[in-house]
Symmetry: C2
């Protein structure tokens, strides 16, 4: 009796999760009682009872002689109900919300950004004082469709500097870097398309792509870029529409794309319809500029996006897209339709800060500080048996492997209870193959308490 | 020979527009040559030639014995290629871009916002000077998942004031009002769903819904809200998922929802799965508060959204959503996945400005100025034969009918050549039934040149 009740609930749960994931949409006929019983290896009466309870709840309805149908409107897009249910510690949505919850005074070596005290504070305050005195129209009016001209001019020059020819009409501003990728996804993707990501990659790419209901395929990332054989095989096997990656400094590994990998990757893409989004968010942290896919490709199939949230401010939202000019035209229409005008003031503040004579000097000191913090953090981690996968040339991240047999999610849970927020590897890994990895942010790893807590948790 | 070439191009154009609108997706088999010939009333050889040319262009491919298929990846989402091609003058995308192009020094009686000089400039500058001195974390860190707490507290109190019970956990901040509606659409809609809008309504609703590829059904708007009989009929005929409307002051008509219409509308929705988005963007312009659907409904099926772009600044982007708390939970996840953190600084500035003791006084003077401008504009328009549909109780818009036989799009084209940007009625009308209407913004209609140009164009 009890077991049959469990089985009924299992069938009900299965139907409801298929509705939540929109596998079954309203009006669709669901499998017959007999077919479902066979598929789930339960009795016909179990399925019948499950269907009848779902009818009573208004989830299904029946048409005499023709079967059972999904009732009501399409289920809302609840990201947490899409795909397999994840442990909280490796759930991208949970990690993002945990990191963004600034009320918490926890230590955050797992967090993705610099401490507030490392940011370009003086320049920002100066920029704010300047805009407080600027024209009324700057303070009150919408941005132009492509966005604040002086910032686009700055970006055009900056891109030229790293070898990317991007005239003004090929650059548009967005509300943020994530918004830039989201617009490209809306422009190019249909639910069910396949998108390649690096494995591991920035965990919010998973959440973003989930919201677009595409198939995500991970390509193993090596110390010089994606594994080229695996990349070629994925191209053949999945005809992906898009590949999203970081160049410059890779999140979470801190690795750097090599010219030969960049060249081979683009050659592989030659006879495909693949579009590549290159997220250049960490460019200003590089000590020596790495190759850019967008430079090799000439912004033909590669779209470069970026933002200023890691260097100037995450509080002032502004990002950009550099792409083929016909694509920019359509992307501007999509941007206006879905967010209307951009944040003119934000772009103005960012432009003032980034062209401030102090900015270059500030970033030099940040790079120095990061290099020191990197050495120190790596030494302290090694001392407790946590080994860096590679020693990054620059940036704030170091991707580390735990001693054998240790699980990062378990460790993260234990450390969270002691006020230390970690970033466990599987949050970054589409294949869930990074269960013994952690990403450390060296700028957030200065406090000795972190290592005490880690050591205790490791020996537990 | 010539005529046959035209017919071939017509068939090619038809196929290409169906691919652009994603009616035909990659891999889909298109109608057989014979079926297409019959459907388009052309010869089999015409269709065959069209299909072969499309094969040569790589748009189609064929499988021996099995017909013609759509080749390549799914077409990018080009908004201008969706739906019927519109005259530039009534194309929502063109109108938005034209209005946003601030380089132009044209007169803009068709524009949707106040002149910069009417905005709360002193309060804004003060707020900027205050944030320039604030904590570094406010200047550099991401916002919390729901958004800046003090602004949400302010909104909660404000909503209570207009009868909408909205505790803090039912309010989240967004990047803008348009972003708020877009998030709700992503949460609730599938391509092919039906959405009701007012006819006429804010033109960007059309563009936004186009981006979601839903069916848009217009319900005629009366002086007291949507036509209730037509609304009931549309509910029955289309089972719409969403209805998007303005309460308070309606864009473009300036009309006000009456309590009896609000009550009847919600009663009609009772047995449906309809969700209602109430855009409250013009609330602060009301002299006496009109009923709100969200107040009557208690934020059950009604979602209220709003922003500060019409009163504080369009340059500093910030909006909000007030809704059921379980929906807010899912909407926060969607927001983080697609834009990551919100604009903390923008929310902070808006909060400082809107709680400034001068704001209330400023809005009082804006309302007075608008009332005076309304009287003056109506009188000047009447003098040249342009009649208001109703005299709005408040707000900046007046919806006007041209003298018999005059076409608003033609007039808009003529006036644009003389540096006057108008907003022709059909841009706002899903049914294209407002060809002899124009929306005037009384705050942008002070310059006598506007009436000279209108008069000349009308008598041409």
């Amino acid at each position: 009796m009890k077991r049959s009740a469990t089985r009924i609930r299992t069938v009900m749960g299965e139907i409801q999760s298929r509705i939540a994931s929109r596998t079954y949409t309203p009006g669709a006929r669901i499998p017959s009682v007999r077919a479902m019983a066979q598929a789930m290896q339960v009795s016909v009466s179990t399925v019948l009872e499950a269907y009848e309870r779902l009818m009573a709840e208004g989830v299904l309805n029946s048409r005499p002689g023709s079967g059972f149908y999904v009732a009501g409107p399409v289920a809302p897009l609840v990201l947490t109900e899409l795909g397999p249910r994840l442990d909280r510690e490796v759930d991208p949505l949970w990690i993002s919300r945990q990191s963004l919850d600034t009320a918490s005074d926890a230590l955050k070596p797992g967090c993705g950004w610099l401490p507030a005290s490392w940011m370009f504070e003086a320049g920002l305050r100066k920029a704010l004082r300047t805009v407080a005195r600027s024209d009324t129209s700057k303070l009150t009016e919408y941005a132009s469709p492509l966005g604040h001209l002086p910032l686009r001019q700055f970006l055009s020059r900056k891109l030229t500097g790293i070898g990317v020819e991007a005239p003004l009409e090929q650059i548009m501003l967005t509300e943020s870097g994530t918004h830039a990728i989201d617009l490209v996804c809306r422009f190019l993707l249909e639910p069910g398309d396949t998108v390649l990501v690096d494995d591991p990659c920035y965990f919010n790419f998973h959440a973003l792509l989930k919201a677009h209901r595409v198939n995500i395929v991970g390509v193993p990332y090596t110390a010089t870029g994606p594994d080229i054989d695996a990349f070629g095989a994925a191209l053949l096997a999945h005809s992906p529409r898009l590949y999203i990656t970081n160049s410059g400094i890779h999140n979470p590994t801190g690795a750097t794309l090599s010219p030969v990998t960049a060249h081979r990757l683009l050659k592989l893409a030659d006879n495909s319809s693949l579009v590549i989004v290159e997220d250049d968010i960490f460019g200003d942290f590089e000590s020596a500029p790495a190759p850019r896919l967008s430079a090799f490709d000439g912004l033909s199939r590669v779209i470069q996006i970026g933002s200023f949230s890691k260097t100037i401010s995450a509080s002032i939202r502004c990002g950009y897209i550099a792409a083929r000019s016909d694509w920019i035209e359509s992307l501007v229409d999509l941007k206006i339709a879905t967010t209307f005008g951009g944040g003119r003031l934000a772009a103005d503040i960012i432009h003032l800060a980034i062209t401030d004579s102090g900015y270059r000097k500030h970033m030099e000191s940040v790079r120095l500080r990061l290099a020191e913090a990197m050495d120190r953090t790596v030494a302290r981690l090694r001392a407790i048996g946590i080994k860096p996968w590679i020693t990054p040339q620059s940036g704030m991240y170091v991707w580390c492997q735990l001693p054998q047999g240790k699980d990062a999610a378990t460790l993260a849970r234990a450390c969270l209870n002691e006020g230390v927020v970690l970033a466990p590897g599987n949050a970054f890994s589409q294949s869930m193959a990074a269960g013994d990895f952690l990403r450390f942010n060296v700028a957030q790893s200065g406090d000795g308490k972190i290592y005490d807590v880690l050591k205790r948790a490791l020996s537990a």
